[in-house]
Amino acid sequence: MSEQISQHVGLDIGTSRVVAARKNEEAESIESQLNAFVRLPHSKMTEASLGRENVPFSISDGHILVYGNESAALADLLGQEVRRPMTQGFLNSAEPASLEQIEEILSSVLTPGEGEDLSKTRICFSVPAAPSGNQESLTYHEATVRQVLEKLGYSDIRSINEGVAAVYAELEETNYTGIGVSCGGGLCNVALAYMSVPVMTFSIAKGGDFIDTSAAAVTGEMANRIRLVKEETFHFNGHYSDKVQQALTVYYDDMIQSVVQGLNDALRGSRQVPKMSRRVPLVLSGGGAMPEGFKARFERALQAANLPVPVSEVRLAKEPLHTTARGALVAALSE
């Protein structure tokens, strides 16, 4: 079968974004969509306008469902919250349109290339580590995503843990040994790999959504607005220009402390962790790691934690939003 594979795709299915990385011969390309949608009342004029602007949408039950990147701006414009096919890393069981919308969003980033035969394309998608005691969510989520991808025409479908994907994308110079941390919308995923072998993985249910909703609750703003502020202007600098900035700093710190504490507990509690003869690097990826000052904040928390596995350096991934998809692509290529 492997001789027949001609295309490879890495797919990051995150709570807030879906990113596809593909490699055709030497060229690498990235497609990305917000993993969200918003419902608008149907009218011919709206439908025509969206079509003219090439905004992806579908029509259901007399409403227009706009999904992907444009949904956030439209929701902000209309004073609505976006709806999410996924929550906390997994398919959102409370969202009735979850399956239809995830299928639409996936198909929008997985547009086949000219002459591409999907049966000869190997696709590797990211999965989170199951939160403690919630293995069933992962099983259901993974099986459902496989079904959706099969429905879209793929037959060679693989999966990879999100933290491990960060290691595969960024740590080739240490023979894929190190710690990958992916700060996503729903979860922060962490993995320790030793010479490519996932030794320990876990996830913390605190990600971008946690920061948005917590900051929204204390400031009275809508979570969608908080998210836009966070992505456009927020940075750690110790000076708070307003209450939103202050709240964001507090909940970012909470997330960092939780990840570092979880990492410390997992390393101390795991019997699988090998004794490292050298210090290992830690790579930060995901949208949550992007604010200016995040890396320094994380380093400070690590130093205070005194991890049992010594860390040589903390580095920010080259393109944090694309790291998981690139790692999944590397995994697909290396199968």
Binding site: T139, E172, V199, Q272, A331
Partner: protein
């Protein structure tokens, strides 16, 4: 291509040695690491590592180092490592793969409709555990082993194997050890024999649980770790088949002998009660389907002559009903209808009517499946056998061979 295969074999021999004999891992790790560092292309490098190191870490600090072995073999290791480093850089081919690449880790549940007992932990101390159904587990002989991780093979052959870690079944054994008469005046002998047996089982990490003559339940190898109890073996449920059940199936052994007496079952009433409460607890804790609770005789196979029933533990007279399970002797051994194994007619003589029903069902099913595939039974059996050999060849590591040898040695010694 020939050079690539030789490289693959060579690297595997290093890793195999590390896995099987617990060589100090830094030597093998450094050898593979340095070898990988010489591969420029990141994808090729990752492919090399994934195919040599595999899907689990062989350098677990939980591994107990055997200094005697190391002293005796360090010269060979040094030569092998040096030769490995001197090997020219080659592209790693598909053929190098011996350990399967990372596969998804999923719950051990089968998803089938099944009722499970509801048992919970009442109290736990350093020396024992008490469970809500009255089960008491003694932990004085408890020991860790390699963490259990295994592949489950979906019935649909176009699906990739699935990596699992939680137990999905129970295999019942007999210790076949020396038995003193169960009499009050034999107390001292009974205790000495029991303690010696437990020490031996602990040393060989032979079973997860032992039920002694008095019905006491001893945990020996931890549930999360593999034990050397089943060797070459095959079982299947509604979704997956499983090969070599040391991983994924918990070994529960009853201190008794198959031919101990002419009674219906060689287990004492106290042992049967313990079998029942222990099975309830394990089924409750791991959501193990009743059909995956079976005896060693039902799962044991001999790949060298392609026959089932290599081990005879509980080939008959296992008290399924009394242990709270359906009569799983009714089950057709998957080794026959899924993987083309045959059986020696003497097995029928040994097992009697109870196991015979399952054997007969397996033969009938194999013939039906052959007809459905439009081929004769023997041609179909041959194709099944080839599939088993392909899977077996892929998964059989030197570590597993070592475990099998240990188990055999233990049984022979006990006998």
């Amino acid at each position: 291509m020939k050079g690539e295969r030789r490289l693959g074999v060579f690297v595997h021999s290093i890793i195999g040695m590390a896995r099987q004999t617990r060589v100090p891992g830094r030597i093998a790790g450094a050898a593979v690491g340095l070898r990988a560092s010489r591969i420029d292309d990141p994808v090729q490098r990752l492919r090399f590592l994934r195919r040599t190191v595999g899907d689990r870490c062989p350098w677990s600090p939980a591994v107990i180092r055997e200094s005697g072995w190391w002293r005796g073999n360090r010269g060979k290791i040094a030569v092998a490592a040096a030769a490995l480093l001197a090997w020219p850089v080659l592209e790693v081919s598909q053929g190098v793969s011996g350990f399967l690449s990372a596969v998804p880790v999923v719950s051990a549940k089968t998803g089938s409709i099944e009722s499970y007992p509801n048992v919970w932990l009442l109290e736990a101390g350093a020396g024992s555990e008490v469970w809500s159904n009255g089960l008491r587990i003694e932990r004085r002989f408890e020991v860790a082993n390699q963490p259990s991780a295994f592949q489950a093979y979906p019935h649909r052959q176009d699906r990739p194997p699935v990596k699992m870690t939680a137990p999905v079944g129970i295999v019942y054994h007999t210790t076949e050890s020396h038995l003193a008469p169960l009499e009050e005046r034999q107390n001292k002998r009974l205790k000495i024999i029991g303690e010696t047996l437990l020490g031996f089982i602990r040393e060989n990490k032979a079973y997860h649980y032992v039920i002694d003559r008095f019905g006491r339940v001893w945990r020996v190898v931890r549930d999360t770790d593999e034990a050397n109890h089943a060797g070459n073996s095959v079982w299947a449920d509604g979704e997956y088949s499983y090969l070599n059940l040391n991983r994924g199936f918990l070994g529960v052994s009853v201190e008794t002998q198959t031919a101990a007496s002419g009674e219906e079952t060689p287990a004492t009433p106290a042992q049967i009660h313990s079998l029942k409460v222990l099975t309830e607890m394990l089924r409750s804790k791991y959501r193990i389907v009743a059909g995956n609770c079976i005896t060693h005789a039902q799962v044991s196979v001999n790949p060298s002559n392609n026959q089932v029933g290599y081990h005879y533990d509980w080939a008959a007279k296992f008290p399924y009903i009394e242990a709270g399970l359906p009569d799983n002797y009714e089950k057709a051994p998957p080794a026959i209808w899924m993987y083309g194994f045959t059986y020696d007619p003497s097995l029928v003589t040994v097992t009697g009517a109870r196991y015979w029903r399952g054997l007969l069902k397996a033969e009938v099913r194999l013939r039906e499946d052959a007809t459905a595939h439009g081929v004769g039974p023997e041609a179909y059996r041959k194709s099944l056998s080839q599939r088993y050999r392909a899977l077996f060849g892929r998964m059989k590591s030197r570590a597993e061979a070592s475990a099998e040898a240990k188990q055999k040695a233990m049984k022979e010694s006990a006998e």
